[in-house]
Amino acid sequence: MKRRRVSSFRGLHALVEHGPGRDRAALTAQLEVLGLKVTALETAPAPPWDGVDIFFFDADAGYAGGADEIPPEINLPTVALIGSETPGRLESMLAREPSAYLLKPIRSTGIYSSLAIAMHQFSLIQTMRRKLASAEERLRSRRILFSAVLQVMNQAQVDEVEAFRVLQRAAMAQRVTLEVLSARILSGQCPLPRVVAG
């Protein structure tokens, strides 16, 4: 996600799921002041929602917190609108993984901050999730890399440091990661790299 300038949210499309009344009216009016396009619904249809950039939901309504009630995955910056601070409501709100929150009664103050925090937190978490996925992938490949190093050590009678260096050079030459090269060696798709004396 491109890092967004904090100063303006103009042009974003906000979906607000909240019953009609003062809270929803105050939120909608302020989001419009901030240049957002707002769709306000008592009950939003099931996601995904085309073109929606940020989602506001009523933490007081829906989802009684039963085990059989799993909220849909939204995968958008999300802001919880909290009235009741009872643990049951808070648990149900957290299950929807909000990036920020606003306390009711909603007033103009705080909405801008909630937008900034929600967009920032969501982007941060997305980045962290990507990094985590890639780290997990590399962790899974460690065993393969280790086997490839052992093969080079055995075949060329070199130590571990030298075997690793040989694999690194070969990976660079073939323009692939160490893990991919190791997998190719182990599966027989690629011969063991030759150790250059010297």
Binding site: R22, G65, S84, T86, G88
Partner: protein, 398 residues
């Protein structure tokens, strides 16, 4: 010597006398009316109360409108009112913005403490926790929950679940009925089929009365006769409701409450007598009537002590008061604006009244956030546990 003319203090009253929970609203208005009459008839007060009664009819938006009218047009500083948490959350922003005081009589699920509210009704450690303790120690740890689909049910069920799980038991089912929906036959059928040993009921108004009646009818049918009747537990069933349920179906249910009309104290005997004189000899005051009565009396005594209706002065004065209420001693905890109250457990009997089974030995400090809930202590004597049976389920948790 001419009698000095007494000043008039206008107090706002925001009770839904009509709409889905109008019965409770009228009960609460009765209690407050009794307090107003008592204050106005007493030479101990150098002012008279004039209540300005508004009936939002259970409509949330109307609570806001009426509250605004009371504050801006009628310039009241003190409002007695609200029953549901949703209605309180509607008026709270106005009460706080204008720095007024809301005297709140209803028990509720907790997790709030506003400087601008005096919470006279029971906090969760004074209603659901003692009931859960009694249940796991005396009845069992396997319970079927039925209730209206709203915050009160969600939260009391959650607390019950936490306590029952800690005691090694389980919630067999949670059945939620839309608020205002009175169709409960499917729940009754399921209970007859599954035969749960205990039922916990948080249905509201007519849905609850129908549930009691239909379950009783089903249990009385030939095929089900002889099967044990599971007790129905609640934190809200009160005397006027027993009458609405009917003479047979209303018997044998267990309620956790800080007040029953059958509390045997001189203060309560006077209270019940005066209530009947004013509202009819067949009527008994409910916990809500007693609590709204207390709101009026605590407010009057605080104004007298403060010598003013100023919110800050009245609040400070109220903190110093200790009242011998119909339910027993009552005082406000300045830490959280809730009250020290006396939890009780009672079983409904024929004649639309309650037998009190257990009374807390002392007043219990309010714990609106259940910060001091100790599950280990609470479940030590759960049935099936190794501990000895306790003398009382209503021990004080410090």
């Amino acid at each position: 010597m001419a009698k000095r003319r007494r000043e008039t203090v206008h107090i706002g009253v925001l009770y839904s006398l009509t709409g889905p929970y109008g019965l409770v609203g009228r009960e609460m208005l009765n209690g407050l009316t009794l307090a107003v009459e008592q204050v106005n008839a007493s030479a101990e007060f150098d002012f008279q109360f004039t209540p300005l009664v508004f009936d939002p009819g259970g409509e949330l938006e109307v609570y806001q409108e009426h509250c605004e009218l009371l504050i801006r047009d009628k310039a009241v500083r003190h409002i007695v009112g609200c029953y549901t948490s949703a209605s309180r959350k509607q008026v709270l922003p106005l009460i706080e913005r204008y720095d007024r005081l809301l005297w709140h009589s209803a028990r509720y699920e907790g997790f709030e403490n506003s400087d601008n509210v005096i919470y006279v009704g029971a906090a969760p450690n004074q209603h659901i926790v003692p009931l859960a303790r009694y249940m796991i120690e005396t009845l069992g740890t396997s319970v079927y929950c039925v209730g209206a689909n709203y915050l009160w049910t969600w939260e009391t069920n959650r607390v019950l679940q936490e306590i029952v799980s800690a005691a090694g038991g389980q919630i067999i089912a949670k059945r939620l009925v839309a608020l205002g929906d009175t169709e409960v036959s499917h729940v009754v059928r399921e209970i007859i089929e599954r035969k749960p040993p205990i039922i916990f009921n948080t249905l509201v108004g007519e849905a609850s009365y129908r549930f009691h009646r239909e379950l009783y009818r089903a249990q009385s049918q030939a095929a089900n006769r002889g099967a044990p009747r599971p007790p129905i537990l609640s934190c809200s069933l009160c005397e006027p409701e027993l009458r609405l349920i009917g003479p047979r179906a209303s018997v044998g249910h267990i309620t956790s409450s800080v007040y029953f009309a059958s509390v045997d104290t001189p203060e309560n005997r006077t209270f019940v007598r005066r209530y009947r004189e004013m509202f009819g000899s067949s009527n008994l005051p409910s916990v809500d009537a007693e609590a709204s009565y207390l709101c009026g009396i605590l407010l009057a005594r605080a104004i007298r002590r403060a010598g003013s209706t100023d919110v800050q002065a009245v609040r400070a004065a109220a903190y110093k008061d200790e009242l011998s209420a119909p339910q027993g001693p009552v005082k406000i905890d300045p830490e959280n604006n809730h009250c020290y109250l006396t939890p009780r457990l009672a079983r409904s009997r024929a004649g639309f009244t309650f037998d009190i089974l257990d009374t807390a030995p002392t007043v219990v400090k309010p714990d609106p956030y259940l910060t001091w809930l100790d599950l280990d202590d609470l479940t030590r004597n759960a049935r099936g546990g190794s501990g000895a049976r306790p003398a009382s389920s209503l021990r004080v948790v410090k």
